[in-house]
């Protein structure tokens, strides 16, 4: 009859994958958060649950990985993320724009980082972690937690980069002189705007 007890890691993982009960999810995420053996990927599915669950998971992830503790808060833009955006731009024949970004002065880089942080804030929490923690957990591993195949994982990763790039470009368009934007439009506009 006495229910209170922490549950084991494997059981907690199964609960996070299958249950919709906030009670069960709470016991699972609380048990995982307190277990020193818990790996970051064990907690990732909890980020998709209601905030009362996601908060606990995010704080535990923050302790284990140093990632931002609030999945809805302002994220930290890492160097890896910056490189990923530039690589994506290059792969999409947006090299001119990418080179222009990498050639900016430090004050401009600060502004760019702020814009990137703004774009990241709009992402789904799990997508955001997939982008900003590429060295800690691969995009394939994260996407596997989302039930995607490796190829789907790569597509998702690129799609998220695309969304970020698109959002960044739009924020640029709001502040750049009209002439400068018109000159860049052919290369820089995401395909769906053509």
């Amino acid at each position: 009859m006495s229910r209170p007890a922490r549950i084991g890691r494997e059981q907690a993982r199964r609960v996070l994958a299958a249950s919709d009960s906030l009670y069960d999810l709470g016991v699972a995420v609380g048990s995982l958060a307190d277990d020193p053996e818990t790996q970051p990927e064990d907690l990732l599915p909890a980020l998709r649950k209601p905030a009362v669950i996601a908060d606990i998971a995010a704080i535990a992830l923050h302790r284990k990985t140093g990632w931002p503790c609030d999945p809805r808060g302002k994220p930290v833009v890492s160097h890896d993320y910056w490189r990923a955006v530039l690589d994506y731009c290059a792969s999409q024949s947006l090299r001119g724009k990418a080179e222009r970004q990498s050639d900016v002065s430090p004050p401009e880089q600060t502004e760019l980082n702020q814009r990137l942080a703004g774009a990241l804030e709009k992402l789904d929490p799990l997508d955001r972690y997939m982008i900003i923690a590429p060295k800690t957990i691969s995009s394939d591993e994260v996407a596997a937690q989302m039930g995607l195949s490796p190829s789907e994982a790569r597509r998702r990763y690129r799609h998220v980069l695309f969304l970020l790039w698109q959002d960044l470009w739009r924020s640029w368009a709001e502040t750049e002189p009209a002439g400068a934007i018109a000159a860049q439009t052919d290369r820089a506009v995401p395909s769906r705007r053509r």
């Binding site: 709470g26 996601a54 923050h62 503790c69």
Partner: protein, 91 residues
């Protein structure tokens, strides 16, 4: 699951966590301004008894590891109908 907030005047506020209406503490504070928060916690409740108390909350940003103070957590529990063997997550 219940969301809990302790305000600086010593009051304990509880509200049901609901995916649709109030999924977390932050959303609660957006809906109800004016709560002078000292700490936050959550509860898992079954059959009228508190089975688990969660000390972690992003509202405890000033505290070590985002944990509600242990003494305060036990004080909160003493005011509630708790199950035998109540578990404090975060201890």
């Amino acid at each position: 699951m219940l969301l809990g907030i302790v305000t600086v005047d010593g009051r304990i506020w509880l509200r049901e966590a609901s995916a649709a209406e109030c999924p977390g503490h932050q959303e609660w504070l957006q809906q109800e301004t004016g709560l002078d928060v000292m700490g936050a916690f959550s509860l898992a409740v079954a059959k009228g008894r508190v089975d688990y108390l969660f000390r972690k909350s992003s509202l405890n940003a000033e505290a070590r590891d985002f944990l509600l103070d242990a003494d305060l957590a036990h004080e909160v529990a003493s005011c509630l109908p708790c199950a035998d063997g109540l578990v404090f997550f975060g201890d």
